[in-house]
Amino acid sequence: MSDRVDTFVSVIAPMRDDADILAGFVEETVSMLETSFTNYELVLVDDGSEDDTLGVARRLLREHDCIRLLPLSRRFGQEIAISAGLDSVIGDYTVVMLVEGDPAELVPEMVARAMDGAGVVYGVRRARAGDPWWLRTGARLFYGAANRLLGLGIRADSTHFRVLSRQALNALIKVRDRRRYLRTLSSFVGYPTEEIVYEPRPRRNPPRRKGPVQALALAINIIVANTTRPLRLVSWLGLLMAGFNLAYIGYIVIVYLLKDDVVEGWATQSLQLAVGFFFVALVLAVLSEYVGRLLTEVQDRPLYYTQAEEVSSVLIADERRPNVVAESTESR
């Protein structure tokens, strides 16, 4: 007991239909917290689960101390669920863990590194071995484009698993974007960061994976939420096209003046139209994306709504945690 680090650690775990693996996750995490830190809390944020996740979580509240259950009123998405947790945690260091596969045993080391001065310590997946080829290729393309073309500075294969200092957290929760991406936001706030390479250990077999559409949507969302460079790119393209068209007008005028017979040229004209419309379509696509974003940001709705929060109700009848707790409660 004496080697526990004297600090207050908060763990946020967003949940979504995790009834099957939640108990294992909570037990592993709480016993790690209990043996490693003098003070801790585990905040379970339920993102509108449709299975028995809430039921399992309520049972765990009666078995373990220092757990809070924060059910969102409907499904808002994982990033928003994490935001709800970030708004409510009280610890000196905040850990974001996914129920799906983040290993609890790494937390003490990550917290120790955060205590040594890193504002953010984030996890990086060692290998994407379990992923299908299209996801691996897509991810490589995405990270390449995001970092080189768009200047996003997202570490390839970084995950949600991370530790934030109170300072970094306070900066982070001031960002009230509708669409939030913890991974880019934590680099946006700009405190010293460190990474820790690890192997996620799926608690579910087979693990849940993103589909191609989800993965692509996520990539687009991350880009649009974090950079206006595509828009700038489009502006350049538009200028280029304008110049090209200007030259072409000159060409037409010259041809008109110098040539008598101008009926032919169908090929050039249709090519010009096709190229022009291609870029117009592209410009519209990107613009609509940003206009849509402007709309959602301007609406300024609350990010999320929560239902009544619930807390652990455990009767600890002795110095030590085990045995006494199980049958102590009868309410609901």
Binding site: F8, T38, N39, E41, D65, C66, R68, D87, S88, I90, G91, D92, K174, T306, E309, V311, S313, V314, L315, I316, A317, D318, E319, S328, T329, E330, S331
Partner: protein, 371 residues
């Protein structure tokens, strides 16, 4: 029965503020002999002592107009009657949280207007103590605290003056009906016979009932912890309550001069349970058996997010007590007092209320239907 039987008109079980008040009222409404018994070493040592010391002026119940209005009426009377135990030297502030609060600042203002409670904007230097990202508005309110020790002295003197027989270290064990139709209470110091018995034992209300073979009343208990702290200079002279949800109160505790109680809606209740007949647990036994691992750090960390100066409070000890409420008031803010007449036996009355200054409601109702 080897013990002598002590006879009286009214027997009040439980020497908290409610029990004392009921005993005094029975005496003044004509009972010639009133006995008050308490299991503790002294009167008013349990929940009448270990609480926020708040004289509720209504601000606290923005979602229950009735409770708010009654609090205003009652607090005025309480302050008038117990002047010497009321401490008004602290400035009290209510702050409305931006996120997670059940009322908005606008709603709170409207509520206070409707119940006629005065609300002023806090001075800039006080408002600056609160984190504007988390707090929507800060108001100075007219709310006083009471000194539980001074109140005890006063009540003790009143009881003596009124000629109420006070039995300390006297634990009521069970109550039964005598063949003559009176009530007999077996206690640790003998049997008492009375025309009327008032069970004012708060959290232990059902212990007496269950042991007497009577049906328990549905009650919800919480094992609670309030931290006694020394506040840093900038907040030493004030009381702060953040509304209205899982937030905290930092309240001056006049019974321990210089100290505040820090309590938190989320962390103060350590364990909750309900009396549901089948599995009765004596709240005092639960309290005695609990490991009492303090949650002061949790309270401090959360409170400091709203009022950074709370980071520097110094922890002295915790006040542990069982808090009991009626399960129905879980849904809203209302805090009705239970007054159950003829429970199981004729003339056995159970009284269970949790706000010291609301005692007048129950005293008035007692008058309405003379036993």
């Amino acid at each position: 029965m080897t013990h002598d039987r002590t006879r009286c008109d009214s027997l009040v079980i439980g020497g908290g503020f409610y029990g004392c008040s009921v005993a005094l009222r029975r005496r003044s409404s004509g009972d010639s002999s009133v006995t008050l018994m308490d299991a503790g070493d002294d009167l008013m040592t349990r929940s009448s002592y270990a609480n926020q010391a708040r004289v509720h002026a209504g601000y606290h119940y923005p979602r229950s107009l009735l409770t708010g209005l009654r609090s205003r009426v009652n607090s005025t009377r309480f302050i008038e009657e117990y002047k010497e135990s009321v401490v008004g030297t602290f400035d009290k502030y209510y702050a409305v949280a931006r996120s997670g609060s059940n009322v908005s600042a606008a709603q709170f203002e409207r509520f206070c207007e409707r119940i006629g409670a005065r609300l002023d904007d806090a001075d800039p230097e006080i408002a600056a103590l609160f984190d504007p990202d988390r707090i929507e508005a800060v108001y100075r309110v007219e709310e006083v605290a009471f000194d539980a020790l001074a109140l005890r002295e006063r009540v003790r003197a009143d009881l003596a003056a009124a000629g109420v027989a006070v039995k300390r270290r006297a634990e009521a064990i069970r109550v039964r009906r005598t063949p003559e139709g009176r009530l007999a209470v077996e206690s640790s110091i003998g049997v008492f016979e009375a025309d009327r018995v008032y069970n004012c034992t708060y959290s232990r209300c059902n212990r007496l009932l269950v042991d007497s073979g009577l049906p328990p009343i549905p009650l919800k208990h919480e094992l609670t912890e309030m931290a006694l702290v020394e506040a840093p200079e900038e907040i030493a002279g004030v009381g702060v309550t953040v509304m209205c949800g899982p937030f905290f109160s930092l309240m001056p505790f006049p019974a321990r001069p210089g100290l505040h109680t820090l309590s938190h809606v989320r962390y103060t209740p350590h364990h909750a349970w309900e009396d549901d007949g089948g599995s009765y647990r004596d709240p005092y036994a639960v309290l005695e058996g609990a490991a009492r691992r303090t949650r002061f750090e949790h309270m401090r960390k959360d409170a400091a997010r709203y009022v950074p100066a709370v980071e520097d409070v110094r922890y002295l000890e915790s006040l542990w007590e069982v808090k009991t409420v009626l399960p129905r008031s879980e849904v809203d803010d209302s805090r009705p007092i239970l007054l159950k007449r003829d429970h199981g036996f004729p003339n056995l009355t159970c009284i269970m209320g949790s706000k010291i200054d609301n005692v007048y409601d129950v005293l008035e109702c007692l008058e309405e239907a003379p036993a």
